[in-house]
Symmetry: C2
């Protein structure tokens, strides 16, 4: 049994979490342990305070106008579903890209069937790059919304957020951004980019536990957006209808307070270290890795080069070799954890030319070291030698 463990699957979830995250969770469980509820006893108010503080730190990180515009959901998929199902109506046209995760594609396909939605999927190139002009061309009179991932969870390609948001703004359509792969790594400014919805996950680069995530929504957009879930909110308890104000309109049922306490600690970790510092470290590791790959000519990189517009998620294939087998061998023989396959993003793989076999995906996080990268490169080299011999 191997004891060495090198976790290179940070695009799936960040691991480890900063020590403060477990500490915050334990503090919540042992010292608070109550549910937030308006007008309740002191410990219940303290629970509410933690949720509010978490809302505020999320607001600040993304520069949203007000904390109440931060809606918590169990994950980014729920957040995207609330936005897409809540905003898109029968006959609407929606534009998206060929690099999307199924968290965008599947709700759109379902709405296409149930609400006669028209969908345009703007193709990206073989590196996953999107030409903003193509989005502009796709606009129609009934286009309601543009939804896109800030960066691909397969190739790490960053999409041109500022340009896309500007196009949407000019066209008078809504901009919904999936920041699952970038929140906490790339700067995201809700107000500067004039976004309408920014969906985020808590358990990736925000270092929170799974079960956390959410969306930030513009007030005027929130007023038109229908809730997906109805139920108790601790507010307007005399009403049999969902309240209309934020965040309660979109937050029914008991909140994952334990998870939010952890998320708050995770985001504090980012602000303490500095997002630029984290990004720089991940960029350094990514460059080192891609430079090392260049010395292994059998390996094919799918996505931008080291200096391209990319994050630390790197997909490769080795012609003639099964990605699943390679991932398995990296785990069993080297203790290296990476993810192979289609990564819940079939369209992205079609774009990259790696469908249906998929890729071998390495994704580096702040807690990875230069040593981890060199070790992964050595392991890949050994696997290639062993296979060749």
């Amino acid at each position: 049994m191997r004891t060495k463990q090198v976790f290179l699957d940070n695009a799936a979830t960040s691991k480890p979490k900063p020590a403060a995250v477990a500490k915050a969770i334990m503090h919540y469980l042992s010292q608070i342990g109550t549910s937030p509820g308006r007008g309740g006893y002191n410990l219940s108010l303290e629970a509410g305070r933690i949720v509010l503080e978490t809302r505020e730190i999320v607001r600040s990180l993304f520069n949203a106008p007000a904390a109440e515009q931060v809606i918590f959901t169990p994950n980014v998929t729920y957040a995207l579903n609330i936005a897409l199902q809540g905003l898109l109506e029968t006959g609407d046209h929606v534009i998206t890209t060929s690099m999307e995760h199924n968290s965008v594609i599947r709700p759109l396909r379902a709405l296409e069937q149930s609400r006669d939605l028209e969908i345009t999927i703007v193709p990206c190139n073989r590196q996953g790059c999107l030409d903003p002009a193509a989005v502009k061309k796709a606009l129609r009179p009934n286009t309601k919304l543009l939804v896109f991932t800030h960066a691909s969870n397969v190739s790490g390609t960053v999409l041109p957020l500022a340009d896309l948001a500007a196009i949407a703004q000019e066209a008078g359509i809504l901009t919904v951004v999936d920041s699952a792969q970038t929140a906490g790594v790339l700067p995201l400014d809700f107000q500067r980019h004039k976004l309408d919805v920014l969906a985020f996950t808590g358990h990736k680069s925000l270092y929170g536990p799974p079960g956390t995530g959410g969306l930030i929504v513009r007030q005027q957009v929130a007023a038109k957006m229908k809730p997906l879930i109805f139920g108790g909110t601790g507010s307007k308890s005399d009403h049999e209808y969902q309240p209309e104000f934020l965040p309660d309109k979109f937050e029914a049922g008991t909140t994952n307070t334990v998870g939010l306490a952890g998320l708050q600690a995770g985001i504090k970790f980012i602000t303490d270290i500095g997002l630029e510092q984290i990004a720089a470290h991940e960029k350094y590791l990514t460059r080192l890795f891609i430079a090392g790959l260049a010395e292994l000519p059998q390996i094919k990189l799918h996505g931008p080069a080291a200096d391209g517009n990319r994050i630390s998620t790197v997909s490769i294939t080795i012609p003639g070799q099964d990605a699943g087998t390679l991932a398995y061998r990296l785990d069993v023989e080297y203790g290296i954890m990476v993810r192979s396959g289609l990564h819940c993003a079939p369209l992205a793989h079609k774009t990259l030319g790696t469908f249906p076999k998929g890729t071998l995906r390495f994704s580096f996080g702040y807690f990875n070291s230069e040593h981890d990268v060199l070790y992964a490169l050595k392991a890949l080299k050994n696997l290639l030698i062993k296979t060749a011999s």
Copy 2:
């Protein structure tokens, strides 16, 4: 600052949790920390194993046919929304009761508007008791579904589950049960009662953390039930449509694995001690409390007597006194945590005759002692003396 803390708000969330719950959460965070994903590395499979084990222990607790019929959601409100929004169609008639929480009433009211649903709310009596014959009378040719809470979160009144399920069964309509207040305390047998959907919360009497809950669904019903959330499932990743099989059809996005590890430990605690043992202890405390209330003639009990069909949730009012003020004084002067107001159940309070002022609600859990009950009674007595003098 008071140091004594007596938590009597277990109907909101159970506190404390068994020590094993925090331990399981810590183990997950420090030793596993990965996301489940099919065909992944060993630690990812281990994450999947924990989720599967939790599914199995939930299946076993409620005697569901198969683990895959257990769908996890972030709370019981989401579970009820999936069932109601997924099953009810335009023109359907639905029957519910006047003791429901807003987690049932608000989705029904929203569907009434969006899908022209017809709703019959069968009135319960002043103790919150429901006459099954009234439900039978409410049946119409277009009745699709009967949804009801197993026990009121306001008065603790238990509704006649077996009789109601039998009526629904005979009428050929679906039975959806909200077990938020009873799962882990009263026996619930999915197969024996021939239920169609059983919605549960993890963080109350199942002793899990907030952020956990779910539903159990009959296979044939699941086939007709539409998903509410669409997205990545780690399965059929080559498909742009939600998979049709269980549990994936209703579980999109990253699962709250940390929370589920805690929930598993919570349910193990129940099976180790025995549900009957837990129920007996809570019944004893409830009887003790209600007997003590009888000696304070100013206090009015809203709900069944000590020997009635009830759980440990006890609502009272004191004529001429504000429940919110009483709750505040119990907290500040005695360290006793209870909840006042409408408890997200306006209809239930209308039924009990306590709308719109609400009640003062005491709810006892397994970790409460005889001493806690006597202390609460003493505090109430003191408050009455102080107010009278």
